[in-house]
Symmetry: D2
Subunit: 341 residues, 4 copies
């Protein structure tokens, strides 16, 4: 059985998830990892599994490696993509490719010229719930889409250090929702209007960011959309979506750790939703990796392209500008607005 030889750059939380899933995928061989902060624990872990530890350049130049997972900090994505592409390696890159649209364009161009595949880490497309909504929409259960509603709330804000470099709520957190809006509706976004507020923690204001936001979308063809987003839901991770259309509604609710319900004289109660993305999207991460490997082996296009990343980044940037200028931003005006940033 042929296997894809994989190297991972960046062994933080998300890199470790991919590593674990690749180790269990019979079509993948994880041969090398790279992390400037690799400590004793990671070295032992790699040694026990026969995985080499290399610096990123060595890994990207290693002819034995077929594909790389780029899980390092966002500012390194574009140079790593370019080097990997130049070396003919297929690429899985975490989102966003970049916070700078021009850099993303360059990265996509490098990929295109090299003829390699690039999959971007929009893991939620592989979630059993959202996947099922999308299938229903494609089957026509909701008819022609009229409104897309997405709820996206994290259980707790990231640390202040991260907030500073996160790119802001629209690029860091809602980029997933912008992709989901495109995925569920099957339509491109034409204009956005964003409202933000600092209600969770003043630290966001200190970094020019917000922690609560509602973004309204208008899709090509006229359908509307709305995403409500918060950095902190007391009850945990809240990830829901609805497509409403001429034929009805298709909606996905949250996942829960169990179905146990307690009824007493005080009322009826049950447990909170699955806590965070590691729990909720566990299966989605496995599936996104599996499909990436599968496409490489079969020579078929990967399910989430660089173009998908680029389009979500454009919506994120438009939202940021909309919030800044307190007005509607058309995606078609984005390029002229960018110049004025």
């Amino acid at each position: 059985m042929r296997k894809i030889n994989i190297g991972i750059i960046g062994m933080g939380r998300i890199g470790r998830i991919h590593a674990d899933n690749l180790l269990r995928d019979p079509q993948a061989a994880l041969v090398a990892i790279s992390d400037p902060y690799a400590g004793e624990e990671l070295r032992e872990w790699a040694a026990a599994r026969g995985i080499a530890i290399a610096d990123s350049d060595a890994l990207l130049d290693d002819p034995a490696i077929d594909a790389v997972f780029i899980c390092s900090s966002t500012d390194t994505h574009v140079p790593f993509i370019k080097r990997a592409a130049a070396n003919g390696k297929h690429i899985f890159c975490e989102k966003p490719v970049s916070m700078d649209l021009s850099a993303t364009e360059e990265a996509l161009e490098a990929v295109r010229i090299a003829g390699v595949q690039l999959q971007v880490g929009f893991n939620r497309r592989f979630d059993h719930n959202f996947k099922r909504v999308r299938d229903h929409v494609l089957e026509g259960s909701a008819g022609e889409p009229h409104m897309i509603r997405i709820t996206s709330r994290d259980p707790a804000p990231p640390p202040a250090d991260y907030i500073k470099v996160s790119g802001g709520i629209y690029m860091d957190m809602m980029i997933h929702d912008f992709d989901m809006a495109r995925y569920l509706s099957g339509r491109e976004v034409e204009e956005v209007f964003a409202q933000g507020a600092v209600l969770v923690d003043p630290v966001f204001a200190a970094h020019g960011d917000v922690d609560t936001a509602i973004v309204t979308l208008r899709f090509e063809g006229g359908a509307l959309g709305v995403i409500d987003c918060s950095r902190r839901a007391a009850y945990g991770y809240d990830q829901r979506a609805e497509v409403f259309g001429s034929g009805g509604s298709v909606a996905a609710a949250n996942d829960y750790p169990n179905t146990a319900v307690v009824a007493t004289k005080e009322g009826v109660r049950s447990d909170k939703p699955l806590h965070f993305f590691l729990e909720r999207y566990n299966g989605a991460y496995i599936e996104e990796t599996r499909q990436f490997i599968d496409c490489l082996l079969n020579g078929t296009p990967v399910p989430v392209s660089g173009e998908d990343a680029y389009r979500a980044e454009r919506i994120a940037l438009a939202s940021k500008l909309s919030a800044k200028y307190k007005r509607i931003v058309k995606l078609s005006d984005l390029d002229s607005l960018r110049e004025g940033m």
Copy 2:
């Protein structure tokens, strides 16, 4: 518009419910009531509405009355039915007709000879949930029934005075469930097995009764059934049913006072089910009265017959004997067993 002139005998809790519903029914005229315990409040209530107060014999003999509602204590049902029938009045009688099968048989015979209509107060047949289950079963959604499951739990036991004369859990409380089993399955019960326990309050044991019971049923044609029953559910009234068959399952859950759900860091919570029969079966009581009046006006058979009451009473008695003798009781053996009681 022709109206049916109605008299009610027994103005306790259930009599008052019917009175209120009859007053709102444009096809009914409540003309007289009778209650040996009628106090000042009831007299004023009647006077304000132009309703006569009579003794039961006078009411039953009054030629201006077309139909009577018998809502007095169970031991008076049969004599009142006989007198009403002899006077050509149609009858609505609360359940059970009697705790003595022979007396019920006599009452039904009197009704048959007089050619009047008799409807029995199995109000749950008119509940929106159970009615919908029944409709699904008739449409074949569940296929051929294999198992019927009924849960029947009260929020709190009745007072000790009532327990003494209630006829026991099988005749007093589960008779509704036995009727529901026939109604939902569309089948007659052939044998029963009853297990009882005193777990809620020792007062039940003091009166030779139980407060918790599970009755297993076997229907003609082979389907099985099970009813679980308790005199006390801490969370309120619990009334559920399921028909499981070759094609699948049709199940009705409880009703709740609202759909509000609260999610916090402690979990997810909502309110208890509707508290008791007045709340849960409010609409069912209105509908059972409406249909009774409608059938009298149209000369069509009433939706719950004396035969339905008799058959439920037989199952109740068989269950009582099963619990007593700790064995299966076939309904066909009931008559010989009754002799031995």
Copy 3:
């Protein structure tokens, strides 16, 4: 027992609902009705109940009448309110009071001067679900509100004749939602942004209206809100709301006609939500009338004031302007913008 003598002006669909509820309210006496289109059926209905039929002026001048229900077309509300107030009658008026803020201001001024009570028909405040959400919010279950989400979808658009004079989706349909946003959050709206689309029926475009809209709100203190609205949901009436805050979420789902669930090899299915406002808000209409009468008898302030109507109308107007000018509208800028209309 003292009763409030009531006259109703306008016996269309909503006037009939109030009439039926008033007839069942022991504290109210419906003594007169008025409707320029009163036909034979209505005359017989009134005669059978001893209710006089009068013209509107006569009714408003009749000293025997304590309070009037104004259920006629919106353009008649203000003159009727003024005349009723001048005659010292308490007033229940359907929403909106007027589509012209100045006219509403005049009506409220007349009510203030006369010292009568004015309740406006925001029936949804009396819905068991939304009432429960509000109670939870007041108890602090959601903590400090961060986002309010309201879904408001009708089962089918009104007739074209009505669309023409409806005042548009924001004033006709969403005015209920604007009131709900204030009611659930306990906060005033400071600015709005509205996006509309014609996706259901081009007839809306022909009248300068839309059939699909998303309105984003910003409340005093910084909380955000969003209302999504459609004139046509294939599955019926969709009325949901959520208050999300620092402590969690409180959400109300739709009501359904029954709890029956069918599971077969094809999947799991159940019935659609209650079809429309008559079914969903049946209990709310009864309760809003009951509380109005109760307040008049007890001399306490009515639960929904003219001020509530005025504020919702201002939000509706701001939304209309926002959609027109494609920009945020601050409520504080409304007066200057109105001049430019």
Copy 4:
């Protein structure tokens, strides 16, 4: 890191599940397997993973093996347990240990003498839903248990060949439910009453078996229980349980593949429950293996003992006799009844 060396006997469906889970458990080393029907595919699978293939005696005698998983046909369990115990190996054995109580007693005695550990494959104890119900019961959420209700329905009957040797519905299928009844209630069963019917397929009757059964239980201390069981639910695997007690109810519903809900003019629909045990109990199998290995490494008692297996087998046998003799069977009378079999 110390690892437990494991051998598996019997590589059918359930053996393969355990093998896959052991391969992913960092504390386990799967070193050998044995299967008389091992074909080319299994040999390749083992070779690729460095797992030896041995005959069962060789495997059981191999001093390098710490523990064995006995996943072969039920008639081989007891001899394999005895040989493994004699060789000082710890044992994981699928349920039931045996269909003959005396043989089970002998096996347990051998285990006791050898001082090894024996865990029995009651996987449902490790299900997230039932585990949560049990935790709630232990925390007292339901108060003192009054009734235990279990629903246990398979999506489709096993092949006729299997039915013949299955031991019948009580021993083959309901043994899981008998264990669940003990697990959830924390109480021993004192008497049973079983009703069976052949409603799914006459092949069951041909083998003296039934395909539909309701078993009523009485626990020590007086609580009641009921299990309803079917070999075929059209909508898939149905595994629910409820503990009802003095403080309320704790209930677990089924698991579903996703939360997507579609609402159209036809109604509301969603997908069927997870199809069968491989899907529903996937996590439970992983957890039961993990805990077994963990207990061996830590020298703590395994979570499901041979005694648990024995007690469930006694309830199964009592149920079989109850159905046969159509009467209550007390567990304390089982030994005298066995003699008469």
